[in-house]
Amino acid sequence: MATDTTSTSLESAAQGVSVTGWEAFKNSWFYKFTLFPLGQIFGFILGVSVILTVLALLLAVVFPEPRENINLTQQIARQLPDMIIGGVSIGFVYAMIALGYTLVYGVLKFINFAHSEFFMVGSVVGFEVMQRIGAAGEGVLEAWNPILLIVALVLSGMVISGTLAVIVERVAYRPLRGAPRLVPLISAIGVSFLLIDVVRGFAAITRNDFNLTYPVSQVSFFQQRPEITLTPENAPLLQFWFTAANRDEIDIGLRMTSLIIIVAAILMLLILNWFVNGTKQGRGIRAVSQDMATAGLMGINANLMISLTFFLGGAFGGAAGVLYGLNVGTVTPFVGFIPGLTAFTAAVLGGIGNMTGALLGGLALGLIETFLNGILVYFPAFGQRYTPVFTFSVLILVLLFRPSGLLGAKVDEKV
C-alpha cells in the first residue's frame, strides 16, 4: 500500500524532479535488497524476544517458585541468551521450510503437504554426502575447508530437493490442476507417504538403520562453541541482569552449528528476496501468482514459473534439512513430520502466501518453542513434551481468530 509520503515523492521523481538523499537511498539496490530485509529480520527477532521475555517474567510473577529451590526469575535470566539463540536458529529452519509452503500457496492456492518431505530428503542427502566424503578416509572431513564443506552439503541438498519438488509437481499435481481443491491435497498426502517410504527403504537397504547420524564429530570446526563472558566490568549497563540472574558473570555461548544456520539462512533469505522482488523471473512468479491467465497473455509460460516456484520452495526446504541435520546430528526418514507441521503453522501464523509473514512466523514459532522448552522444565505437571501442544494451539487460535495471519491482508478484488 503506497502511503501518501511515498506516492508524492515518487510522482515528483516521475515528473523528472531529481530526488536526493533519503528518497534516492530508499530506491537503491542496497536498501531494498540488503538493509531493509536485514532490518526486518533483526526487528522480528528483537520484537518476538522482548514479548516472550516479558511473558516469561509475568509467568515468574505468578509462579515465583514452581519447584523447590527453583527461582523462576533467576532461571529465566540465566537461560535467556541460550533460549534466544536456540530459538532463532530453529526459527530460521522453520522460516525456510515455511517459505516453501507460502511460495507454492501464493502461486497455486494449494497447500503442498508433501513439502515437509523435501525437507526430510534434504536432511538425508546432507547426511549421505557428508558420510560419503568422510568414508573416503580418516581426517578427510577435517581436511576440507569447513565453509566449503557446508556450501557443498547445502547445495547438494538444495539441488536434489528442488529437483524432486519439480518432479512431484509435474507428476502428482499438474495433471490435477482444475480438479476440486481437495483432490491435489489428497495427492500431496500420498506423495508424502511415498517419499517417506522410499527413503526408508533406501536407508534400510544401504545402512540397515533409520537413524542417520551426521559425522559432525569428525570436524572440529563444528564442535566449536565461541563464548562471550559478560561481567559487571565489561557490561556495566547490564547490572540489572546480573542481579536478576544472581550471578557475577553470564556466559553467552553460541554453538557453531547454530551460528552456521543463522548465517546461512540470512544469506539465503537475502538472495531469495532479491530473486523474487528484483529479477525478471521473480517478477514472472509474482505475476503468475496474482493472475495466472493474464500472465499467460503477457507471454509468460505459467507452467515454467510454477516449476520454478516449486524448485525454489523445494531447494529452501532441502537447505533447511541439511542445516537442521548438522545442528541436531541425527535424522531419520520421519524427521520431516513435526518440523513440517510447525513450519506450516508458521506460514499460517505469518499469513500464508506472504513471504515476510513466513519469516516472521518461523522466527516467532522457533522462539516460542525454545522459551517453552526452557521454562516448562520447571513445571512438574507439564514438562517439555507439552511444547507441541502450545505450538499447535497457536495454529488453532490463528485459524479461529485471524485466518489471514499476522501480515496477510484481506485483498478485496477490484471489479
Binding site: M1, A2, T6, S7, L10, E11, A13, A14, Q15, K280, R283, G284, R286, A287, Q290, D291, A293, T294, A295, G296, L297, M298, G299, I300, N301, A302, V411, K414, V415
Partner: protein, 238 residues
C-alpha cells in the same frame, strides 16, 4: 490488402455450450475492425480463442499466414498477438512499472523496453505519474490506460481490445477511444470488441455484428452505422 488475422469456420464450446458457431473474420493490416453484438453473443470468446485461453473445436486462426489455432496463450503472444482482456486485469500487487515490464516479457533488449515505455507515456502521460504505485491503487480509467500500454510493450502485430470502455466515465471513454485511434494511426492493427457500438463504429473501418455465436452482418463501419437493424438493436434507436 494484406490480412494480418484470418479466422475461418471457428467453433468454440464452453463445456456443452456452443459459443461460436462457424465464425469467419478477417483483419487487414492497419485496420480497426470491431465486433459488436449484445451480451453473450460471443464477442469476447472470439478474442479468447485467438489468444488461446479458450480452445477451438473446429476451424482455423492464422496470423500473418501462420496457423496459430489452439496454441497456448504465451506462444500466441510470442507470435505477435497482444490481448487486453475484459476487466483490464492489471496485476494489483505489481507496480505500474513492473506491469509494463511484464508486458515486455519476450523483449530482451533493455533499451527497447525503455523506448516503448516512453512511447506509452506519450499516449498516456498519467501512467508516468503513477509509475511506482501499485497497479491495484489506480483508478479504473488509469488501469485501462495501463492495460493498453502493457499490451503495446510487446509491439504486437495485432492488438485485441476487449471492452475498453467498460465501467468508465464517458469523458474517459472519449479519451481512451481517441488514443486507440492514435495508436491505429501509427500503424497498429486493432481488433476491437465493444458494447458501446456507436463509439466503436466511429473509429473502426469495418465491423462485424454477432448474434448468438454467429456473424449476422458484416460491412464497412460507415454502412453499419446507417443500417436500420443495427441502429435499432445496438445504437439505441427505436
Amino acid at each position: 490488402m494484406q490480412p494480418v488475422l484470418e479466422i475461418q469456420g471457428l467453433h468454440t464450446y464452453y463445456g456443452h455450450i456452443h459459443a461460436l458457431k462457424g465464425i469467419d473474420v478477417t483483419v487487414n493490416k492497419g485496420e480497426i475492425v470491431t465486433l459488436i453484438g449484445s451480451n453473450g453473443a460471443g464477442k469476447s470468446t472470439i478474442l479468447r480463442t485467438i489468444s488461446g485461453i479458450a480452445k477451438a473445436r473446429q476451424g482455423s486462426i492464422r496470423l500473418d499466414g501462420k496457423d496459430i489455432t489452439n496454441k497456448r496463450p504465451h506462444e500466441v503472444t510470442a507470435l505477435g498477438v497482444a490481448h487486453v482482456p475484459e476487466g483490464r486485469r492489471i496485476f494489483p500487487e505489481l507496480s505500474v512499472r513492473e506491469n509494463l515490464e511484464i508486458g515486455a516479457w519476450n523483449v530482451n533488449d533493455p533499451s527497447l523496453i525503455t523506448q516503448r515505455m516512453e512511447q506509452a507515456f506519450e499516449f498516456f502521460p498519467r501512467i508516468k505519474e503513477r509509475l511506482f504505485q501499485k497497479g491495484g491503487t489506480l483508478s479504473g480509467g488509469e488501469q485501462q490506460m495501463l492495460a493498453i500500454s502493457r499490451a503495446l510493450m510487446s509491439d504486437p502485430d495485432i492488438l485485441l481490445l476487449d471492452e475498453p470502455s467498460m465501467g468508465l466515465a464517458p469523458v474517459l471513454v472519449e479519451l481512451i477511444f481517441e488514443i486507440i485511434k492514435r495508436i491505429n494511426a501509427q500503424g497498429k492493427t486493432i481488433l476491437l470488441v465493444e458494447q458501446n457500438a456507436l463509439m466503436a463504429l466511429e473509429i473502426a473501418s469495418r465491423g462485424y455484428v454477432l448474434q448468438t455465436g454467429q456473424i449476422v452482418l458484416k460491412d464497412s463501419a460507415a454502412a453499419l452505422m446507417v443500417n436500420d437493424s443495427v441502429r435499432k438493436a445496438y445504437l439505441g434507436e427505436s
